[in-house]
Point group: C2
Chain length 753, copies 2
Amino acid sequence: MKPDASPAATLPPWGETKVVGRSLPRVDAYERVSGSATYTIDVSFPDMLHAAILRCPHAHARVKQLELGKAAKMPGVRAVIGSATPEANIPWYPGPKGPTSRLFDPHCRYAGEEVAAVAAETPFQAEQALGAVAVEYEELPFVVDPDEALKPGAPAVQEGGNTGGETSVKTIGDVAKGFAEADVVLEETYRTSCDIHATGETHGCVARWDGDRLTVWNSSQGVFDQQEALAEALRLPLTSVRVVCPYMGGGFGSKIDLGKYAVIAAVLARRAARPVKLFLSREETFLCAGNRPANTMTLKAGIKKDGRLTALHLVNKGVVGAYPGDGGVGFQVIDLYTCPNVRVEESNVHIHAGKECAFRAPGFPQCSWALEQMMDALAAKIGMDPIECRLKNIPTESRVYQGPYTSTGLKQCLLEGAQAFQWTESKSKPRGEGPIRRGVGVAAGMWGYAGEPRAVVVLKLLADGSVNLNMGVSDIGTGAKTIMAMVAAEELSVPLDKIRIENADSASTQYAPTAGGSQSVLVSAPAVRAAAVEVRRQLLELAAEELKRPAADLALREGKVFAAGESGEGLAFSRIKGLQQRKVLIAIGSRHPHPAGKVALPFVVHFAEVEVDTRTGAIRVTRFLAVHDSGRVMNRLTYENQVFGGVVMGIGFGLTEQRRLDRQTGRVVNANLHDYKVPTALDVPPEMTCLPVDPHDTECNTTGAKGLGEPAMIPTAAAIANAVFHATGVRVTNAPATPMELLPLLAAQRRRS
Amino acid sequence: MKPDASPAATLPPWGETKVVGRSLPRVDAYERVSGSATYTIDVSFPDMLHAAILRCPHAHARVKQLELGKAAKMPGVRAVIGSATPEANIPWYPGPKGPTSRLFDPHCRYAGEEVAAVAAETPFQAEQALGAVAVEYEELPFVVDPDEALKPGAPAVQEGGNTGGETSVKTIGDVAKGFAEADVVLEETYRTSCDIHATGETHGCVARWDGDRLTVWNSSQGVFDQQEALAEALRLPLTSVRVVCPYMGGGFGSKIDLGKYAVIAAVLARRAARPVKLFLSREETFLCAGNRPANTMTLKAGIKKDGRLTALHLVNKGVVGAYPGDGGVGFQVIDLYTCPNVRVEESNVHIHAGKECAFRAPGFPQCSWALEQMMDALAAKIGMDPIECRLKNIPTESRVYQGPYTSTGLKQCLLEGAQAFQWTESKSKPRGEGPIRRGVGVAAGMWGYAGEPRAVVVLKLLADGSVNLNMGVSDIGTGAKTIMAMVAAEELSVPLDKIRIENADSASTQYAPTAGGSQSVLVSAPAVRAAAVEVRRQLLELAAEELKRPAADLALREGKVFAAGESGEGLAFSRIKGLQQRKVLIAIGSRHPHPAGKVALPFVVHFAEVEVDTRTGAIRVTRFLAVHDSGRVMNRLTYENQVFGGVVMGIGFGLTEQRRLDRQTGRVVNANLHDYKVPTALDVPPEMTCLPVDPHDTECNTTGAKGLGEPAMIPTAAAIANAVFHATGVRVTNAPATPMELLPLLAAQRRRS
C-alpha cells in the first residue's frame, strides 16, 4: 500500500445527505462572537515583551549608519536589532537570481521597509525606543509611476532594471490568423489599481522560545508553510518550529507568506529570552503586508457574427512593487472560452513601493475586468445578447492543465442565472430619462486552482460517542471547520456539538496545505470523509460483535446503531462495550489524489443591476445575483457568506479601492481605513442573491465540492462595469470606477452626443 | 483487521540496540532546568482569577448555616460557591452504595473538608474573602484512632459504620493444614503509618471555558482519566473537556484521581466567565490530597526446616480515612513466593481524617514491611541464610492473575545482588561493640500490575527528517518522554534533538492510560515502536523508488538511507523526493495486546547496610543496593533516577514519614514539610547502587521492558528493618522506625539481656 493511498479513493459519491448541504451556523460561532476564541492578539504571557519596527521613511534610501546603543538603554528595552546585528542578513525575497533582500537590508527600496526593531516591557516603551534609534540615510532617487519606471534612465529599483524578469508568452493557435477570420475585432486597454487586503485583524504574532524550540502564534493562513519558512530562515529542524493559528481575522492572501515581522519577533525573543508580541499597526499593513498588483491590460479580440471567438491577444503589465512578484492575469483568457487562437504576453514592472502578493483570486478579477468587458463589447458589436454570446464559447477542457474538466457548470450558470435574474426583462426595462440611469450587466469567470494533492486528518471517536477531529486546515473565516465537522457528522451521525476540532497547529495537528486558492474544502474534506468512514467501519464491527449481527446489516442514525430495516431504540455508541474497552477508535484520513488526467475547476457568473447618477458619477449597485458552479454546496449558509463577502470585495475592487502613492515623496498617502475606501454596509446591494449550481461532479473528489472562496469576487467588478455601460453607454476601463473616472467619461459622451 | 491489531503484534524482539539502553539525559532537560517548561502553575491568562477554598476546621461537623453574601461583596471577588449553591450537589467519593459525599457536603467528616470557595482578582483578595464567609457549624463527636473507631459506640464516620465494607478473604489451599506441616510457625503484628505524598509541585489547576467547552490545565498523572471524570462531574461530552499537563512536578499516586479543587475551579470559572487558577497550599495537600493508608498487619507464617514455606496467613486492617478506599496489601503474600497454603483477610477502618489514595506501589511497601521481616525471622529461626531461604520459594506463575510469568528475575536478582553486595562477607563482619552497631539486611518484592491493554500514538516524519511524536502519556518526572523518543530514534535513526513530543493533552494527543502503576513504558513504548516501524516501512518504500532498489535491501543509519552492505554517503531523508512531495509520513501505533494467558510482572531485591546508634535510636543507611528485574533497561540514566528516587522514598516510609493526628482536635499537626519528615540529601545513603537484571523477556511486550517506578520503593524499608535486626537483634515492627520506636525496644532488649 502506497502511503498516499487511502480508503477515500474507493468511496462512492454521496447520495442524499443528511447534514452536508444544510444551512448551519458555524461550529465556533459562540467562541468568535463571545470573544472567547483565542486570536493571535489574545495570546499573552506574563513575561511577554512588546516589539515595534522602525521603518524607512524614504521611498529609496541607503542606511549609512545605524546607532542602536541609545535605544538599548531606553526604559524597559530588552532587545534591539537592525542592519548592524548578525540576524539582519537572513535572506529575504527570493528572486530568479537568489534572494533580493535581507531581514534588515541597508538598501531600502520603499517607504516602509524594515530598518530596526525593539522589544520592550510595554508597547509604549517599544515605540519610544524606536525614536532613540539614530539612522543616517542617504536618500536616493525613486520612481513610483510604472510608466516612468520603464523609461530609460529611470531610477533602478532592482539591479537588473525595472522590468522584473522576462516577458512570459503563451500561445495557442495563431492570433493573426484568428483576427483575419473574425467579423469584428476590438482592442482596448484596461487598467486596475493596487488594492490592499485591509484584513479585519492586522498582521502580527507572538514568538516564544522553549530552549532551542520556537513557537509562533501567527495570524496566518497556513501554519505548515509558515513552519517551513521559519525553519529555513532560522535554520532549525521543522519539528523545532511550531506555528499556531486556530482563529484568524481575515487574510485574503496577505497571510500566506511568512512576514518579516514574524522572524523579527522570533529573533527579538531569542535575544531577550522572553516571549515577544509584535503586531503591525493598520498603517504598517498598508506599507509592507502586500497588495494586489495594479495591471495594465491591452486586450484585442476577434469574433464571428455567430458569436464564436476567433482570437484573443492580451498584453499585460503587472506592477509588482520593489521586489520580484507575480503580476500575471492570463489564465481566463486561455481557459474560460473555447477560442482557437490565443496569445498572452505578460511582464512585470518594479516601482519603489511595497511588494505585491496573493490577493483573493490573484490576477483573476483583473483579467475579468478586461476580458468580460471585452465580451460585452463584442456581443454588443455583433448585436448578440451577451449571455448568448458566451454560450457559444463554453469550454469542456482546460488548455492550461491540458485535460478535460470533470464538470463545466458555466452554461448552467448562464442559463439558470439569466432566468433567476430575469435577464431579458431586466435588460429591456427603460434605462431612465433623468439624471439617474439604470442598467444591467453580466460577467463570467472561473478559478484556476484545484488544490494540492495532500492533506491528512486524524479522527477519533471517544467512548461516549463524541468525536475529536484533528486537522491542519486553517479556518481563515470561511467556515472550513464547520464544513469538516459536517462531513464527519454525515458519516458518523454524531451531532455537531459533540465534534471537537483541533486545527491549524503545526505541531499537534495533521498536515494541510495553506488555506488559499479556494482549496481547503476540496483538499481536506475528502480526508475527513475517509477517516470518518474508516472509524465508522471499526465502530460497526464492534457493534456487530455486540449485537451478534453482521456489520453489513447495521446502520448509524443519531449517534446510535440500528439493524437495517428495524426501528427500535437502537444501540447508543456509548453503550457499545468494545468502544468502552478501547476508549477510542482512531483513523488517519488522507485526500483522494487528483482525478487522473482530469481537471476540476469552479465556474461563476455574476449579474448586476446599477443606478448611475450622471450628475455626481456615483454608481449604486441595486441588485446582484451570484451564480456559482462550485460543485456540491457543503453548507448553504457558509456558502452564501463566502459569496456575499466576495461580491462586496469585488464591489470595492471595481468601485472604490485604490492605494495611492504620492509622486513627490513616494509614500502611501491613504494608509488607513478612512482614506482607503473599503465598501461599507451602505455599499452592499440592497438585493443580493446567491444561486448555487451543482453539476453533481462525481470525479472532482469524494465530496463533489469545488472551490468557492475566490470565484466569489472574480467577475463582480466586470458585471458592474457592463451594467454601467448598459445604463450610460459609457465604458469605464479604469478600475476603480470612481466618480473621478466616470464623470469625465460622461462629460465626453455628452460632448459627443 | 480488528481495530486493536497493530503491526507491533508481529514485531520481532530487538537484537542489539543503538539508542535504547544508553544512559541519556532527558530530552526535556533544558526546559525543566531553565524554567521554560510550562508547569501548571506557569499557565496564566491576562483575565485570570485566583481561587481559594474554605475548609472545615473541625474533624466532624455539620454546616448549619452558610452565608456567602458578604464574601461576594468583598473587593475583587467575582464568584463564591458553597453548600448553598446548586453545584454543591455534584456527587463525590463513590462507595458501594453510591456516592458518599458531594462537592460541598454540609456534613464534614474531616478537618480540611471543603465548605466554600471564592474566585477573586488576586490570591490575596480570594483569601480575604474566605474570612468573610460566615459559617455556623454544629460540632459533632469524632474519632481519629483506628482502634477506637472499631469500638462499639464510637462516633460513626459513615452511616454504615466504621468498618468500611465487607472483609475481603482470599484463600489458597488450607492454612491450618499448612501450619500443621510446618517445622516453625511465627506470628507477628506489623504496623505502618499514614504517609503523605509530599509532591514537589502541589496540586492545582487553571480552568478556562470557551463557550460550553472546558479546558483544565491540571497537575495530574493522566489527562484522559481526568477528562472522563470531569466530563462526568459536569455532565459534558468527553470532547467538550480538555485536560492538559505536559509537565508535572511529582504525583506518586495523589494526582491520579480528579481532585475536588479542579471541579471547584471549573465551576467558579463558569460562574465568573473568566479563567480561574486554583492551587492548594502545602498545608491543604496534607489535609485533602490523599495519603498512604496506615496498616495493621498480623502475619502468621509456617516454614519447613528446608526453607519451604507451608502457610501464610495475613489479617490486615487498612485505615482509609473518612471515605471508601482501598487499604489492601495482600498481593505479595499470595504471589511473591510459592507457598501452597495462603489466607488473606483484609478489611478497612474509617476515621475522621482525609481519604487514602494510591501511593507509589499501593499496599506493596506495607506488605513488604510485614512479609519480608517475617521471611527474615523465619530464616533466622531455621538457621538458614535469608537469601537461601527465599531461593527455596521462587514462583513461576501468578496465582492472582492465574497464569505463568513471562519471566521471573527474582532468583537472578537474589544471586547477582548477593554477589554485588558481597552479602556473605558483609553479613559476617563484626556488628560493632560500642554504641554504634552495624548490620545488613535483604528484602525482596514484586509489583502486581502489567498495565492497561490500550495506548495509541501518532508518529510523523517531516520533510526534513525530523519527527513529531504525539502521545497521551504523561511524563510525571519519570523520563517517559525521553524513553519514547529513544524508541522512535532506535527505529528511525533520527537524532533525539530532532524528535519533538506532544504529550498529555486529552484533546490533541492520543489515548494513553494514566501514568501510574509503573505502566507508561510498557504500555506506550510498544505503541511508539509500532508507529515508528510503520513510518520506516513507508520511508524505505519511498527511498526504494528513488534509489531503484528493493526496500528490503535498504537500511537506516543516522538519518540516512543506505543500501545494505554499502558504505557511501547514503541518502539523507530530506533528499528523498517522495518525502518532499508528501510533506509528512504518518502512522498510528497501538499497543501489542497483553501476552495471551501469560503474566508479565517485575521483581526486585534490595540490600541495605545500616548503622544504629543505640544511644539515640538513630538509624543511618550507609550502603544500599537495589537489584531490579524490570526487563530491558530502556535508558540507564533514567532507570537509576527511578530506582534511587524510589529507595529514598522507601527510606522515608521506613524511617521518618508519618502523618500525625491530634487526638484532642482531630487535626493534622504536622501538615508542613518542617514537621513531616521527608528524607533530605543527608538521609540518602552515601553508597547507593543500582543493578539491573535483564531476563531478556521476549513475551512481555515488543520492547522487553517491565515496570520500574513502583518496585523501586517496595522492599526498601523491610531491607532496612532487617539490617537493623541484624545490627541490634531488635525487630522494629512499627514503621517508621523513628528513635521513639527504636529506643524503647533497645531498652527492653537491654533489660532482657
